[in-house]
């Protein structure tokens, strides 16, 4: 697919940003009137929260006298700096996707002032989301059991699936950088929660941590959470190989759009408490449909290619077999 396809996609992403994506709070509130899918474990009863206070208005400031940080590690930046960082980090992470810190920076600088507060409202409209915001759990070596322990769980549990996925890819879940450029502490936590849960999204959907797996997952996240960086990251579709692009366009993108919109907001899942639950049951509760196994499809494709190469190799051998010398049968 030519590069023009990438441009069309980005335009489409831009339009969708403002129209359809992300779980709106009204949908979640309607769901609340029905049987709740999550029982609030902490505290027993259901808490009624007063509407959140609006964030304090931000006054323009000089870089020589920045306002005090709102949370540890916070760096207040003005709009010029935010725009500069957003453009350069998006460009840098597109050109070098291994720079995880640039991807993180792109996420932080493009999510405010609109998308991250909207995601926050989604969390506040959901009972488990509210509980998560109150307790602010983080995925650290002390909050979840080590991979070796998780691998001893029954194979149908989320914990086992997650640990198996980490092990297959030789990844650690604790390498996500802290959030620094988001203006308030609560928004920073929401973004951090998304960043730290990303591996769980991989585990629950089954997509591998290769470029071909990350691109549809990013689109899925965009449909489900509404953060622009995820949608723009899906434009890395243009960098995939031809066979990968075909699979992603035919199978995984349509899945990502449908599943992302229909599934419950994954930001509202308290992953640390679901490690022992059955994966299938969790998916059913969330309304999440998983795509075909990408690794299996890739293996099948490679096998087909190997067989085709072998056939061609055999064909060449037959063609170059020595021609038997003509016997003299001329009269």
């Amino acid at each position: 697919m030519p590069a023009g396809c990438g441009a069309v996609m980005m335009l489409w992403v831009g339009v969708l940003c403002f129209l359809f994506v992300g779980k709106s709070e009204t949908a979640a509130e309607n769901a609340e009137d029905e049987t709740p899918r999550y029982v609030e474990i902490v505290g027993g009863g259901r808490h009624v929260m007063s509407p959140p206070a609006p964030p304090p208005p931000r006054r323009p400031f000089s870089v020589l006298s920045r306002p005090p940080p709102s949370y540890p590690g916070h760096i207040p930046i003005n709009s010029f700096e935010k725009t500069f960082l957003a453009f350069t980090s998006l460009l840098g992470s597109f050109l070098n996707p291994r720079r995880g810190d640039l991807i993180a920076l792109a996420g932080e600088t493009t999510s405010t002032p609109y998308f991250l507060p909207r995601l926050l409202r989604t969390m506040q409209s959901h009972p488990t989301g509210r509980a998560i915001l109150r307790h602010r759990p983080e995925i650290t070596p002390t909050s979840i059991p080590p991979v070796a322990t998780l691998l001893t769980y029954p194979p149908t549990t989320l914990g086992y699936t997650y640990a198996k996925w980490l092990e297959t890819h030789h990844l650690s879940p604790f390498t996500r950088p802290p959030v620094r450029y988001v203006p308030t502490s609560e928004l920073a936590y929401v973004l951090l929660r998304y960043r730290q849960s990303h591996d769980f999204y991989h585990a629950i959907t089954g997509l591998p941590a290769i470029r071909e797996g990350e691109v549809p997952l990013k689109l899925f996240e965009f449909m489900n959470l509404g953060l622009p960086m995820t949608g723009l990251a899906a434009a890395s579709y243009a960098t995939l190989k031809k066979a990968e692009r075909e699979r992603v366009w035919d199978i995984y993108f349509p899945w990502a759009i449908k599943a992302g919109l229909e599934c419950e907001g994954l930001i509202n899942v308290w992953w640390e408490r679901e490690l022992e639950s059955d994966v299938g049951g969790l998916r059913a509760r969330l309304g999440l449909v998983i795509p075909p196994d990408m690794r299996a499809l890739r293996k099948a494709q490679k096998r087909r290619e190997r067989e085709k190469d072998k056939e061609m190799g055999d064909a060449i051998k037959v063609d170059t077999a020595p021609v038997p010398a003509p016997t003299s049968t001329t009269p």
């Binding site: 000089s62 870089v63 020589l64 540890p72 590690g73 760096i75 010029f80 700096e81 500069f84 960082l85 350069t88 980090s89 840098g92 720079r99 810190d101 640039l102 920076l105 950088p177 802290p178 620094r180």
Partner: protein, 279 residues
């Protein structure tokens, strides 16, 4: 990221002597370690960052610095022994040797590269072997030394002492100046290249905003480390002015030629020189 944890440690109790680390106040004993950490983390991307931050002008400054010192044997004189302090990656050292060899036709002048940070020295050693003909010869040697003490350098042994973009990181600058005075031979030259105050106020306003906004952002984008570059620009701001530092050089026992300093690029950097008196 590194500096955040550092902010929790190194906070002084009431009775310890304190100094500045950029805009933070920390106990004196901790500063050397923290500076070492900053430079370990920037060592590998140091030159690329210098190019990005100064748009390559740092090369012009260093070339001018070396040319104005004119290292190498004078006609009828003897070869020089040069000490370059805080010159880990070897920028100035290589320029000095090149100038001595090519301009003054002196292949015997020797230089010792001293730095408190072994990572920067390793980078310099690697570069001397790969990029220059001096690596592995006796013309250049690398030593881990603290600029405040220089314990491995004997008194009155050095013809030329240079320190380039290093003295603002020293915890106790007067001690470093006194050590320089000790190791130089009578008649020897002390030369320092460092960031200084930009003089025209309009230009300074732009320069400050560039320093505190663009430089840390580029540190984040290019090197993935905002905090080290935030420290660097804060340490530039905390360094004394041209006149104040010239007074400090004089107080350490040097004779100053003229004002004692020469401004480069409107005062973004300056060169201070002093001569150790013969008696």
């Amino acid at each position: 990221m590194v500096a955040l944890q550092q902010q929790q440690e190194g906070v002084p109790s009431g009775t310890e002597k304190t100094t500045h680390f950029g805009f933070q106040t920390i106990s004196e004993s901790k500063k050397a370690d923290k500076v070492a950490e900053v430079f370990s983390s920037v060592a590998s991307s140091y030159d690329r960052m210098n190019d990005v931050l100064s748009a390559g002008i740092h090369r012009l400054w260093k070339d001018h610095f070396v040319r104005s010192l004119n290292p190498g044997r004078r006609p009828g004189g003897s070869p020089m022994s040069i000490l370059d302090v805080a010159g880990g990656t070897g920028d100035i050292a290589f320029r000095m040797l090149d100038h001595a060899t090519r301009i003054n036709h002196d292949t015997e002048t020797r230089i010792t590269c001293a730095d408190i940070n072994a990572d920067m020295l390793r980078e310099g050693e690697r570069r001397s072997l790969v990029d220059t003909p001096y690596g592995g010869t006796d013309r250049i040697s690398f030593l881990v030394q603290d600029a405040e003490t220089l314990d491995a350098i004997p008194d009155n042994s050095v013809d030329l002492y240079t320190i380039s973009f290093g003295i603002r990181n020293v915890t106790n600058i007067p001690a470093a100046l006194r050590s320089a005075h000790r190791v130089l031979k009578p008649g020897g030259v002390f030369a320092c290249l460092e960031f200084s105050k930009v003089r025209p106020a309009m230009l300074d306003a732009i320069y400050q905003r560039y320093s505190f906004s663009v430089i840390p952002m580029l540190g984040q984008l290019v090197a993935g480390d905002r905090d080290s570059y935030q420290y660097l620009v804060e340490s530039i701001k905390m360094f004394p002015s041209q006149e104040q530092f010239a007074k400090m050089v004089e107080d350490a026992g040097f004779m100053l030629p003229g004002k004692g300093f020469e401004e480069l690029t409107f005062g973004v950097a300056s060169v201070w020189k002093g001569v150790k008196p013969l008696h």
